[in-house]
Amino acid sequence: MTHYGSSLLGCGVIDERHFDMEDYEGAVARWCPGCGDHSILTAMQRLLAEEQLKPENTVFVSGIGCSSRFPHYMKTYGFHGLHGRALPVATGIKLERPELDVFTVMGDGDCCSIGAGHWIHAIRYNVDMVALLLDNNMYGLTKGQTSPTTPLSFPSNTQPKGSYLRALNPLTATLGVTNASFVAQTVEWIPSHLYQTLKAAYHHKGFAFVRILQRCPIYTESIYDEAVKTPDVIELLIHDDGVWVKDLEKIYEHTLYHDPIDLNAARALAEPTDRVRIGVFYRNEALPRYEDIRRLPAHTAEERVKALNEELDRYGV
């Protein structure tokens, strides 16, 4: 993301603080043992340390869900809001304070079900933020209901005989929306790839949407089992403009060189296959960012009063 970090705070003075990963640790994470959210939290703390982001200028925004507890576990500013409504809040924050680094953390129900309308429009606005979809294919916090990304005929408490619909594909859905500028997929159980993807998303200028396949040992353990155990299932999308983790090809032999500027290819690659493709599907920094389009020079109270008096003149009798 763009860096205004110190502009407001440091006012010229060099900020000599150094931050370690621990400096970003908030409350003790209360996810289940083996929950994929833990490793995402770690990767994020590593990223912030690597980028030396100022805790006070970083905001994590979330909805409601297991995944949405994320901000509580970071030692930054956080907004744990309403189920499905993280993106409008994050958009408002960036509109008022473009200099802040904003990360939005959502679950699959949060983002793709109740939040779907905001999701589509956040992609359009292309506000400069990182938007993470922690996708465990299930409603976790409410104890196991079918989500839009639940695989066909996978059982849940609301659909005990198995999900009635094919899973929604968050990648093709995102890629179908005009102004999509960054679309990536990664998995929480390959830390190096997860980290590099978060990093790429962070450095992207615009709305960086990352779908993270996330294990939920409680409700969807079996779903990612194979993908976790057999490297053969994974296919790496590699490119200099995307994510290219050195040496990862040694473990995951299926690789595909894909230029993320190619939208049609991205859409085709995003279609479901028996492989799990991870990497950056699409990336285009040429697209305008809403908060830039709307940015205005600051006005002092006096300037406003002066201008408003001129305005009132127009209405004088």
């Binding site: 908030g26 809040v89 958009t91 406003r304 009063v305 305005e311």
Partner: protein, 638 residues
Amino acid sequence: VATKTRTSRKKSTRKGDKSKLEIISVPETTVEIVSDSGEGAQKCGQIFGSTCAKMGNGAWTVEIIPAEIQPPPRTKTGGSGNRVRFGTEVISNWGDATNLVVAFNEQVLLGRIELDALADDAIVLLENVWKTHPDESIQQEWKEGLEKIRAAGNYRIVEVPMEEECLKIVEDTRRGKNMFALGLLAWICERDLDLIKAQIAHQFRKKSQEIYERNVSLLNAGVAWAENNLDFRISVPTVKSDVPMVVMNGNEAIGMGAIASGMELCSMYPITPATSASHYLGEVYDRFGGVVHQAEDEIAAVGVAIGASYAGKVAFTITSGPGLSLKQEFLGLAVMLEVPLVVVDVQRGGPSTGLPTKVEQSDLLAALFGQHGDAPHVVIAPATIEECFHVMVTARRIAEAFRTVVIVLTDANLATGVQPYPRPQLDSRWQQAPINLTPIPADKPPYDWDPRTGLSERRVPGQPGGEHTVTGLAHDEWSKVAYDPDSHQLGCQMRSRKIAVLGSTLRRPEIHGDESGELLVVGWGSTKSAIDEAVDRARAEGHSVSSTHLTFLSPLEPGLKEIFSRFERVMTIEINYSDRRDDPYITPENRRRSQLAVLLRSHTLVDIDCWSRVPGQPLRPCNILKAIKSRLAVGVGV
């Protein structure tokens, strides 16, 4: 309906001799111009209205809006135009009835008559091209229409060959009649032609000089025709006010008030009748560093506003009933997080989509109680267009100082009504302070509630050492999720307490009329002026009645019970639904009462009666007067 004009005209010497010009001199009069939509009556009415204001009259202009998107020509429901009530003194409501109307066809006139818009002795100027229209059926309609009109009241009907006259100047009279009509009215009401021309020039500033001139000659033609053919003029003395005045509608006032308060973001989703406020801001806001964000829906609109408020500066969202319903969940969140937020609800007819363009006051209880759970917050209702301006400054201040949600309830009547009012003397201290990024000491909790007042200091991202996560879950002063009984009880208590503290700073409402008596009428919002006017008339007739008007609905202003106790009877008058006392199945026990009455009965335990209607129109002083008298007629406690 009886009117001042009539009485005063009686006084003026009437010879019945055409050569002699009758001057109807009155303290106030009400003028209407109504046409098929697309014939420009509204433009004409607006210019006439602001001319009155600029000449120093008190004036109130309301729109006459057709029901349909595109009504068919020459239909009763298709009428479009304006009503302008103007007088020597301040005028703050649309009054009882029209004394002078210019109608472009007999059908739209009939529509107005059926809505009981005309005074019984109104003067009617009626385009008569239809009389001789090639289409037989139209001639027939005209004949029957005129009979109906004559039967409806003792109108003084003057047929005007508008078409014929305008054709002398333009081919397409649909684009010209309105200026001719304006000329008629200008002459009759002795309006300042230079002021009118100046406004025509402004209206057509983007058009060619030629178009301007054509409109002016149409105007002059109207003046000339009136001069040569009419034997009366209406004279409403003007007294230039000593304070500078501005003239605008309530939504423009809301917009300017938002600017005056220093709010930088209006996050909205279009909905009638709120949208025009964002149209206004869309035009000018960026000159003040302000942004109108049109969100994908009302939920996102309030979410963006909350995000911006959380991030530093109080933002606002503006909507109407259906949008209020959609925002309820987010309002509860803002209350819980103690993020300041201003919400404007420009009320319209409900329930559901209801009457999108019409006035109603039926969102009061939803504004007060619509959020699930216990979510104390502030609700304010401006009563005049001037208050629409100032309420935004107050609302932003309260939202910030008390870290809470402030809902501002206006309505379609204020939103579209145009009125001159004293120009606000702007103060840069009304503007909210720049974002404060001073570091936070480690031992200071994000909710450092003062246990007595429930107040705490606002904190925004960027303040070093202040890192914390706000949450809609029950939480303690450190904003940590806390489900234990004490934490939740304390949080609820602190959020309620600060509203009581705000209440303790309020003044008791003023009484219009005697401090005690037989009947007190209580109102809120846009009905103030109509109620006060009705009360004045009742008092003039010797009745013992007073009125009071509430600006704060939550917290309520102090002293209400004591005030009510000084009157034998208390009743609210509102534009929302209540069962009538004599309806079948309705008992004093199960009667559905109007919304303020429900609130005040609970608050004061006084047996507060109500008179309310949902006509989709502002209330008329004369109808309020009737209600007052009939209430005085029945015994106490009935």
